[in-house]
């Protein structure tokens, strides 16, 4: 049985935020009498993550997903509740715990700006007490996986965003952590760089059985890496489960665009009992339930003279967008 590597119970986090009324009057009032209010950004959440799982945290901006990651890696203290990551309480930041984890934040860098990444790699290796021989071996292995080589010897400031991100990953993984916290790792990267990064993360997960917690606004990151998602809405968990189950639930239908040979055929199809989404000339879009897609297709192919046919699912971004604004999904 696969054991839980992350165990979160009744976790809450509040921040004190100062508020100021607009205008000069508000500014003067704020100067003499600063008003702060406590905002609960994470509200009594509980979940477990198993070793080797890749879990995507979904939520709108400000929903609280990054705060959850920051608490999981020990950057910030929880206000209430308990967290165990790899058997450790993260906020104690014990050396044994820190050696097991890494946090990568898109567009936030730990590499030394004016030096080539290789210098930061050796520095990180010495911080994590990895000997020279092992460091070289790991750099070689990871740079092969990331397809990065000469770039390691060019000052960071001269690297492209994609090359920099690869180097950041290398620096963050030099100590071979088995729990990765990734906060929008593909932010700002082009399509190819995003794809390569996803490929690398999948491979890293397969080879090391590392647990990965990921937040991203790029749905492709989530769909291609995560089987399980945790949806965060206004500090609470609105859904925790399999991604495909969620998508099925939210999108129980498919759209079939049928291009008929003539407008007459299209009209005939329109009146044949299917649910019609729209019709223009000889093109007609019908809506079928997922479980009757095959039988519907058979019926169309056997009974109508058609020129072409396209099966579409509603765009995943649209579906996920719907998740982000809803409070609860009971699946």
């Amino acid at each position: 049985m696969v054991k839980n590597i992350i165990d979160v119970r009744n976790l809450s986090k509040s921040f004190d935020i100062s508020s100021k009324e607009p205008g000069l009057k508000g500014t003067i009032k704020h100067f003499f009498q600063r008003q702060t209010k406590s905002i609960e950004v994470i509200k009594n959440i509980s979940f477990e993550i198993k070793e080797g799982e890749i879990v995507g945290f979904l939520g709108a901006n400000g929903a609280g997903k990054t705060t959850i990651l920051k608490m999981l890696c020990g950057l910030i203290y929880p206000s209430k509740g308990s967290i165990l990551v790899g058997g450790h309480m993260p906020f104690r930041r014990k050396e044994n715990f820190l050696k097991k984890i890494t946090l990568i934040m898109g567009q936030k860098q730990q590499l030394i700006w004016d030096l080539p990444p290789i210098e930061s790699l050796y520095l990180n290796a010495s911080i994590y007490e990895i000997d020279k021989f092992e460091t070289k071996k790991r750099i070689q292995k990871l740079s092969e996986m990331l397809e990065i080589d000469d770039e390691l010897f060019i000052p960071v400031r001269k690297l492209s965003l994609g090359q920099r991100m690869k180097s950041e990953l290398l620096a963050a993984l030099i100590h071979e952590p088995n729990i990765l916290f990734l906060d929008e790792p593909t932010l700002g990267l082009d399509v190819n760089a995003q794809r390569n990064l996803r490929k690398f993360l999948r491979k890293y997960n397969e080879e090391t059985n590392a647990t990965i917690c990921l937040t991203s606004h790029y749905m492709k990151d989530i769909t291609s890496l995560c089987k399980r998602v945790i949806c965060v809405h206004d500090g609470s968990i609105s859904y925790d489960g399999k991604l495909d189950q969620l998508l099925k639930k939210l999108s129980p239908v498919k759209h079939i665009l049928v291009v008929c040979r003539s407008e007459k055929d299209a009209t005939k199809l329109e009146n044949s009992g299917f649910t019609i989404k729209n019709k223009t000339n000889n093109e007609i879009t019908i809506i079928v339930e997922n479980n009757s897609t095959t039988s519907s297709l058979k019926k169309i192919l056997n009974n109508f003279d058609i020129e072409d046919l396209y099966i579409n699912e509603p765009p995943i971004d649209e579906i996920i967008g719907r998740i982000l604004i809803k409070k609860n999904y009971d699946i």
Partner: protein, 264 residues
């Protein structure tokens, strides 16, 4: 094995920070030049014959100000500004989840900067001796050794004070403004502008209870050969380090609990 790994950690940290500082060698040369306040002060003192009022010869006074320049060069601290910027930009977060207190990075940065600064300071001293050949002297090895230790302790005291102030970044975003307040007594009471011996008696009655005279005055007097109580100076320097270190640890521990990881 463990010791060799720790040594490698320190060595790599210093080596990498030195490489980084070498990228800024021109700026460091300019910073070194900008630290010539003691020479201006020397000019004011000698032109107005003020040395006689404190029973110190012109030569000894010029040596004092040269040594004050050197001590200042190797004890200057800016950790509060680095930490404040890193906190606001969210750079502290990745450092916090590494098994090394981020202040070790800043400490190594300062040491590396001092090493980079060394040749420039020597060049400035060379020019000083060209214009003041009568001030040339060679301190004994023992005095040089003690002066280096005392300068390092001065650096350590200033580093700890600024690190404590830097930790206030966890509560306020502009901790450097507090450092500005400390800059004034550091400038006037440390001996950078005038030897502490020249201060009025009522100032001298309490100033030695503060860390300031041990930042410039004590190491500069030691190196220049002016009379000073060596054992008392070292004792008080060490006491300040021992007092400030737990305060830093306490405020660091409290601050990290308050950390909100802003900017990241």
């Amino acid at each position: 094995m463990i010791f060799s790994l720790i040594n490698r950690k320190i060595y790599t940290l210093l080596k990498v920070q030195y490489s980084n500082m070498m990228e800024y060698r021109v700026e460091i040369a300019l910073w070194a030049i900008s630290g010539i306040i003691p020479f201006f002060m020397l000019n004011i003192w000698t032109n107005n014959n003020l040395n006689s009022s404190i029973n110190i010869s012109a030569i000894m006074l010029s040596r004092y100000f040269l040594c004050a320049f050197f001590v200042r060069q190797f004890s200057v601290v800016w950790v509060v500004f680095s930490f404040e910027e890193d906190s606001l930009m969210g750079k502290v977060s990745p450092y916090l989840i590494q098994p090394l207190n981020p202040f070790f990075r800043y400490f190594a940065q300062h040491l590396a900067e001092q090493i980079t600064r060394f040749p420039f300071a020597l060049i400035i001293a060379f020019f000083f001796f060209i214009f003041n050949p009568e001030s040339i002297w060679i301190p004994s090895l023992g005095v040089l050794f003690l002066s280096i230790i005392s300068t390092f302790l001065s650096f350590l005291i200033q580093f700890l004070i600024q690190s404590i102030v830097a930790c206030l970044c966890f509560w306020t975003e502009k901790a450097s403004s507090i450092e500005r307040l400390l800059f004034i007594p550091t400038l006037f009471l440390s001996g950078l502008l005038a030897p502490v011996a020249s201060f009025p008696e009522y100032v001298k009655s309490w100033i030695y209870f503060t860390p300031f005279p041990y930042l410039i005055d004590f190491p500069a007097n030691l190196l220049s050969g002016n009379p000073t109580n060596v054992s008392l100076g070292f004792t008080i320097q060490i006491l300040w380090v021992l007092l400030l270190f737990p305060v830093f640890k306490k405020i660091w521990s409290a601050g990290t609990k308050k950390f909100t990881a802003m900017g990241s």
